[in-house]
């Protein structure tokens, strides 16, 4: 569909807003519906929209194979890594409140605990989002028919 100027212009206009919305969904997962998974899917969809309207070659120039492969594993690594950090901070695996450390027994204990678990939850949501976005675009890049097939 590379030759349709309407499709190209509309998707060029829409993609930044779609991606902004995806970031909003990831960042606001704790107070509104959505989270890392849905936001990641939306980021993946925005890249797929770009590929559909500008072609596979152009899409791979924007998101190269090495970048999407790196993102594939980086998300899971971030998620699992936060779990390990919790152990290093003295808690159980994925026990985010361990990040509060000594502050968990201070005068602002509850505030510190909430902050720590917020940090952990944000971290893993971002990890989930990165992996999901990368996998969605990888599946599309690899299954869709290439121009020279």
């Amino acid at each position: 569909m590379k030759e349709h100027i309407v499709i190209r212009t509309v998707s060029r206009l829409l993609i930044p807003f779609i991606q902004l919305f995806a970031l909003y969904v990831i960042a606001h997962g704790d107070i509104s519906p959505g989270g890392g998974f849905q936001g990641g899917v939306i980021i993946g969809a925005s890249v797929i929209l770009y590929v559909i309207s500008f072609g596979m070659e152009d899409g791979r120039r924007r998101v190269s194979e090495s970048i999407s492969d790196f993102m594939n594993s980086a998300g899971v690594f971030l998620f699992a890594g936060i779990g390990v950090l919790c152990i290093l901070a003295g808690g159980a695996y994925l026990e985010y409140t361990a990040f509060a450390g000594k502050a968990a027994h201070g005068e602002h204990a509850e505030h510190a605990l909430h902050l720590a678990s917020h940090l952990g939850i944000y971290g893993i949501e971002i990890g989930v989002g990165i992996t999901v976005a990368a996998v969605m675009m990888t599946i599309f890049f690899e299954t869709a028919r290439h121009e020279d097939d």
Partner: protein
């Protein structure tokens, strides 16, 4: 009056499902399944399951449709039909496959409908699912995790280990696609 609003999307769902099954054009059937998912998202919203509705709309209606279209781009657009000159066994085998498939679907549906008869009413506070940990999540998650949306609290905090497994499954799917489908670079 309210019942009409609840029943209308369900009727739409049945209509979409029937059209998708009966349609010969696979691209059309895929797009109708996307519409099916979108209506399903409306149904989830009416059941107050907004997180599920969001996932259904983005994954079911969005990504799944696109990925199925991508898969279709590698195969043919029409449903398989035995050629007209095919007679006897080949044609018979085709209709046997269709009829037996229909019977399997009817049997499964009957078993599922039989199963729903024992289900508790929708939103029943004494349903087994609402008696175990659900109460703790609803009452304590705000205090324990500091996260207002308790769906996120359950997914990311109480059941963080499950979510890690889920993410690993998606990661594995991506790796499998790369290993199986990525074209080997020409030297």
């Amino acid at each position: 009056m309210m019942e009409v609003i609840y029943i209308l999307p369900l009727l739409f769902l049945v209509a979409c499902a029937l059209t998708a099954v009966l349609m010969k054009d696979l691209l059309g059937a895929t797009i109708i399944l996307g519409a099916y998912s979108l209506i399903m998202a409306v149904v989830w919203t009416m059941l107050n399951a907004v997180d599920v509705a969001f996932t259904e709309a983005s994954v079911g209606a969005g990504i799944t449709t696109v990925l199925m279209v991508a898969a279709l781009s590698r195969t043919v657009r029409g449903e398989y039909e035995p050629p007209h000159e095919a007679r006897g066994w080949k044609r018979k085998r085709f209709s046997i496959t269709k009829v037996s498939g229909f019977f399997v679907v009817v049997l499964t549906a009957a078993a599922m409908i039989y199963g729903t008869m024992d289900m508790p009413d929708f939103g029943d506070p004494n349903a087994p699912a609402n008696l175990h940990v659900a109460r703790r999540y609803i009452e304590e998650s705000r205090h324990e995790t500091g996260v207002p949306n308790f769906v996120t609290a359950v997914l990311a905090s109480y059941r963080g280990y499950d979510t890690l497994g889920e993410t690993t499954v998606i990661f594995t799917a991506g790796m499998s696609v790369i290993l199986l489908l990525r074209r080997i670079r020409r030297e």
